[in-house]
Subunit: 340 residues, 6 copies
């Protein structure tokens, strides 16, 4: 099976321990993560060949990020080295009614200053079958958006399946363009889109409508807007999250293939160990399922939602749940018994 | 706005990590706290000028306590230095059906041996509008009780609003007097009293009656007893706690202004990160609300109860929730979403 | 009161912190535990004289295990020293829908190579009234099984009460014999057996029947099978566990004295701090209760089930809950209030 | 005694524990420091009123820095809030022949974008007698250099003593100007300069000469260059460091008052716990000494050098040695006996 | 071989990690120790039966101390339970020229309030051959001094060897008596005394003389003073310490049998991991050697001094060096090679 | 440049922190290492393509080892999966006169049970130029020895340079053969041998002679023995270590090319952070140097010895010093200055 390539930013994540507030912390756990890389880790963890393309500064912090990529069995053959710093995000993990806080410190990161024509996408995609990107990358800088467009175009030209996660972060998008000026051009090449309808309307500059996810019969019309503007689109998926509180989520998912809505049952997720990266876990689960020959759509959405649920029990950005654990949960066994 | 002064003891808190029992611990987290100081931190955290008056030993442990006071933006201009030791409490944090355990080791602390006529209360209260104390201080020693009385009298004379938290701790009160011999004299100057009715009856030496907090109509008669004995009293408040288990509380609150009962809706608080100091968080929220020009009573009790709830999600004695977080919860949003 | 002796293996337990997966861990918490030793710790914690018989390697790791035995007030007077290594188990603590994982690394441990005729059981049992063993020991090796049989026979001969925990671990039993070839001979001397009916049928080579623990009336017939094959049997007990997820269990218990079924009410156990050793906590609670003169059977099963529940709130293999805490829970108070 | 004001940047310092290399670290100790702030902490620690002027971002990381300032008893009354981020430096602590590594990540920090005319220096200096700055601040950005010049000019106009630490960091000075274009104008107002002669010649654009610190007779001529260009200069001081290895330094110092060279004896410093901030400790010790009425020059250089030595034994940027500890070492007692 | 009994206080020791100053610490390592208990641990570690007599409060902190006693294979059969608190000492570990700091918080500890006639010394000493106490115990309170005298008298009466460590701590001795009023009566029963001559003269109220330990010929006359006042005295020993700095000590020792001075060669001890308890390690080594049939005096002082040196490499109060390690060092091999 | 292949065991290393003895440890740092893997990490760290061949159990602990291999940029393409367990070694890090202790727990590890004809060595060596093994592997089991011989023979046949580290561990070699029965056959293919002469004589069954490394003129005759029995031998190297104590080593090295002795100057190494793996660091430095076109022999031994020295400052088994750091030290600069 040919590899899956993802492109984006990997950040140093500095998180407080034991639910401490920032002002109480005298140390930070240092891990690494970022939406598109998290998807690559999920896939590698499932045994899929995965490669991550990014730009890292030539210093010890950049080297730490590289070592993290390699540790999780993700190829780094086309990582570009340059720039001044690795982007950082600070994370304070909430509990109960107190939500987690993320402070971004990612301006002027190595990837923000990436230049077009410096990544040899033809070579990157030579032995690849799938390309994944998300809306975080074009939100970083106009340079990053331009390179993302390069990648999408080349992937499309070379016949790869392209998946796009809308991933809207309002605190990014500071370089002078709005999502609707950038995202439609990027999204048009997609075969798979992950995102909720509100974000989709906003990012594509469409009029806002109120989706009612409980009423599945009402959804196809709304999703069809995306099918209209993306000629190759095969699937749209949405992660459904209801936040009881920071430690208790309800998670489901919807997959729509242009004809039928497939629903993953809503599951209680409590306690939440770490919810950062749970959308990426969903995406990783979805790509994995759609890479299988069967492409059983009900199983695909069940697997993606189960992957998302299990991610909430794992510290850090990555979904390190195994295929077996996810399959067992997707099949309805949420008992979490001791394996011994 | 003029400052709020609180007076009492700050202790070294030595707590086990990760729900370990004392016998399993090879280290203790070292933080600092104490009822009246916790209220000062809450207020400083909300942007109110707050000052804490206490007595600290002249050694490195006393200096650590002083640095903690300053760190949290609380003034320490009238802290007295002397005595032999800082009081200590050991804390083992429970979980589920296992309750937390507190072991007090606070006898002969610096403040237990404080002398009357050594704090210049007139200077302390010069630019203050509010004085807060609690029933823990007169429980420590007859000296501490005497200085507390000095403070209350001077605050009253200088026209400050006085708030009193009954805060009964049965393991204190060892110096030969019972609460009912000490507390009535202290309480009579109060404008605001926080406490449950059982404690109020006990501490004021009144006959025990069975309050039924579900039946709010029955409460005014009971609260009126306090109004009768405290001529300046404007508000009595009670924190309502139902303990499902150590990790799951239900929290509400009642505010009574002599005419009307204001109720804060009962909220589920789970998981509990740390419940020590949650009463002080309630008090801090209440004082903050009553310092506002509006003095909206329903909002005041909602804010106080929400402050109490959020404290449960924060490690240590202090309520470090922000005004925004508390207001959001008081307004009914308990979703705890990630802020990024 | 004469002492209780338990015999079995104590292992080094290496567990990840903070719910980390193995691949994320850069250190392991190092504690010690093992089914029969855990029972001894429970009893010593309740004030009963307890002794643990095992075999430890003569190296620093074996010495650590010995120090752990002594620390928890368990006598180690007949511990045998020899062999090459202490058995190890790695533990990754799950959360929510992700179950905990145990990896055994206990082959060729000191006790696996224990020889018959090397423990002076007559001396061990001289001042003892009770002997406890579990199905883990005969599962380790044929040597361990043979020494276990020695012990059971001598204990029986010397008139001790014998309790047996079936404790089936499918990943052990690698030395060529099946449980049904070994266990019936060992079990026949039992006065008390702990285990569920499925395991009992399997280990005694009986035909499988489907017990319905909700329907208590149906159980005596099934339990009577054990009474038929164990002439001295007085009690059979079963721990009832329903796993909502790894962080949420429902725990009850059944005690049958050959005539009547005694039921402990099902209790919610959430959050789970550590469920390893909870069966041993049940056993410890049961032995403690049956050692009391009263032998009140309803109280016994209540106490055993409450001990099991409280164990889930305690990190490590041992039930370090106090008599008071367990009695309070057994009496129905699960509020987990702060003790101060 | 009137206060001492310092102006500059405070950074988040992220350091690896236990001499780990960056690639081995899974967490960072999070402390705060920066040359001019470190001097303020030294002085506050000695009981001198000290104030630190800086610019902090309005986010939780900026608030942590503010709390650190307050904790160490340094006034923060004129701190400006604004900008996007707090500067960061990563620190890997070396040992033996492996030197420590610092990675700066401080571009676009809050203070880098400070604007002139936004700090009310007249108010800052109202009750001050001394102003201290260092060459790090004008190295950050042209804005920071401009505000530094504002400060120096106003301090000079208001009659404060001005101390300047040359503090050359080659990895800063990226904004297009060389030190020699900026520093001479700033330095001309100095009363006290700390720095070695090489740096002084380089920063003032003078021809390089080879100072021989062993040959004290040769030094006045070289130092006199600085006296020539700084009309108010009273003292020049140099920290002498000989690095045996990262864990073993030899530390001395020179003070020159335009007439006489005062030498502090070279001391062995081993082991080195943390040498970052040792120059600031020297500066803090020197300012403290020169603030004393006596202004005993030999004592001043002895105290400054002893402060520098003791800083090497303290983790973090700050010199937290007490007056007594430094005086004892300055007086020749380096025995480091247990105080009990 | 019959057991060795020691009597005194065991304290909770709260120490900062990584050489942090108290003001930097957010947690404390929690261990237990105390001069006489440390000696018992040394002996148990060497395989000698040892028992420790003390008084512990009946709370969880007292129970932790008890568990520590048992863990290190020291008998606790005559420990008395009562009193309010366990004594505490805070420890900040120095480095280089910065000495360690100890803050005592041990007033009103359980043992300070011990009563005479409550320990059954006859039973304690029934199967004992040696009793050890130190000058710390009579320094705590008059009660502790009185019980110490009880013990010494009974030990003497029952024919035990009695060793006494002078152990002067100036911050104790607060209860109104001076050492010279208390110690001579206690010391007169000694067979072995450990201490330096200055302390001996001070504690026995003798005129101060200046011992010159380099000049061994001059020492017998000075030591003979002790022999004069203690009729049963067989040995006096002195630990020689020269403190280069807190991380570098030079350690030797002297043993005098009333006739001959035996010298242990001065050894370099660097780095120092923890020097607290090193005198107790010396004492433990000396008792061990004198318990051997040979009583080779040169070997005894070599072993005691080597035990003292090795203690400096071990964290905590206890000397956990093995017999083999100490013997190897006593025999001159200080190479510290890896044992594998 | 073609890759370097190493073959051997990777173990889980469980080490105590902060110089704690085993009995004091409540957690272990978990890292991974092993002689031949350590060499591969060194080379990868210097930018050389390196591959490690081993056998790992198919469980999470084996997967952790695999992730460690990948993290450090070492290829794992021919790692075999199977067997029951990963070998373990426990490490207690000494200090000063107390040596470190290693406890092996590596019997029945995955690689001990490796079978011949299961590694496709021809494929492994296809793009390789150098093969490295050490005497640890044939010491594990006869199976491991047999596979090692397979590897050496195929490497020789395919023209690779072969380096052999004698690496004698007396606690291994338990399977019934002595080194002299196994090693000569393996060593005969060597081009480079690392080891001291004593070990060489012992392992090759030669008569013991006393080498005098100070007298370099005497060495060629002794080394020539190895040249006689290894027809392709080009270089013999010896690491010279003088252990002042566990924290202070003196390190040098000798390289002999059959004609000339090249000496690396003895260097003081203090403090020692971790000396495990320092021989492998020497080997890695030597291979790196000999891979350079120049093959300057004096530079080679200088670089190897400097690599060995720097390893002592790094925690864990690996030499993570950079090329620049080693070259700087090899060139004589041991000042360990801060790089910023």
């Amino acid at each position: 099976m040919k590899k899956v390539v993802t492109f984006g930013e990997i950040l140093l994540r500095l998180s407080t321990e034991r639910h401490l507030r920032f002002s109480q912390a005298t140390n930070f756990n240092a891990t690494y993560g970022g939406g598109e890389f998290n998807v690559a880790v999920s896939l590698a963890n499932f045994g899929i060949d995965a490669e991550f393309v990014t730009r890292l500064p030539k210093n010890d912090i950049g080297d730490c990020a590289l070592k993290e990529i390699l540790k999780y069995k993700v190829a780094a053959d086309h990582v570009q080295f340059g720039g001044d710093r690795l982007g950082i995000y600070f994370l304070e993990t909430g509990a109960g009614t107190r939500g987690s806080k993320v402070i971004y410190d990612r301006e002027n990161s190595a990837i923000a200053n990436i230049e077009i024509d410096t990544i040899d996408w033809e070579s990157v995609f030579g032995d690849a079958q799938w390309f994944h990107w998300s809306g975080v990358t074009p939100a970083i800088s106009s340079n990053a958006a331009a390179v993302c467009l390069e990648a999408v175009k080349m992937a499309h030209k070379m016949g790869l399946t392209i998946s796009s996660d809308l991933n809207y972060r309002s605190k990014l998008w500071k370089y002078g363009k709005e999502p609707k000026e950038v995202m439609p051009e990027l999204l048009q090449y997609s075969h798979v889109i992950l995102g909720d309808l509100d974000t989709a309307f906003f990012m594509t500059g469409k009029e806002k409508k109120e989706p009612d996810y409980q009423n599945t019969a009402s959804l196809p019309t709304l999703y069809d807007d995306l099918f209209d503007s993306c000629p190759d689109l095969k699937f749209v998926a949405t992660t459904l999250r209801y936040s009881v509180n920071a430690s208790h989520q309800k998670i489901g998912g919807i997959l729509y293939d242009g004809k039928t809505i497939y629903n993953a049952e809503i599951r209680e997720v409590t306690p939440v160990v770490d919810r950062v990266g749970s959308g990426d876990a969903f995406m990783g689960g979805l790509i994995y399922s759609l890479l299988q020959d069967s492409q059983d759509k009900q199983q695909a959405i069940n697997f993606a939602a189960a992957a998302c649920c299990l991610k909430h029990t794992i510290s850090g950005d990555f979904n390190l749940a195994t295929l077996e654990e996810i399959s067992q949960l997707a099949a309805g066994d949420s008992s979490g018994k001791v394996s011994r």
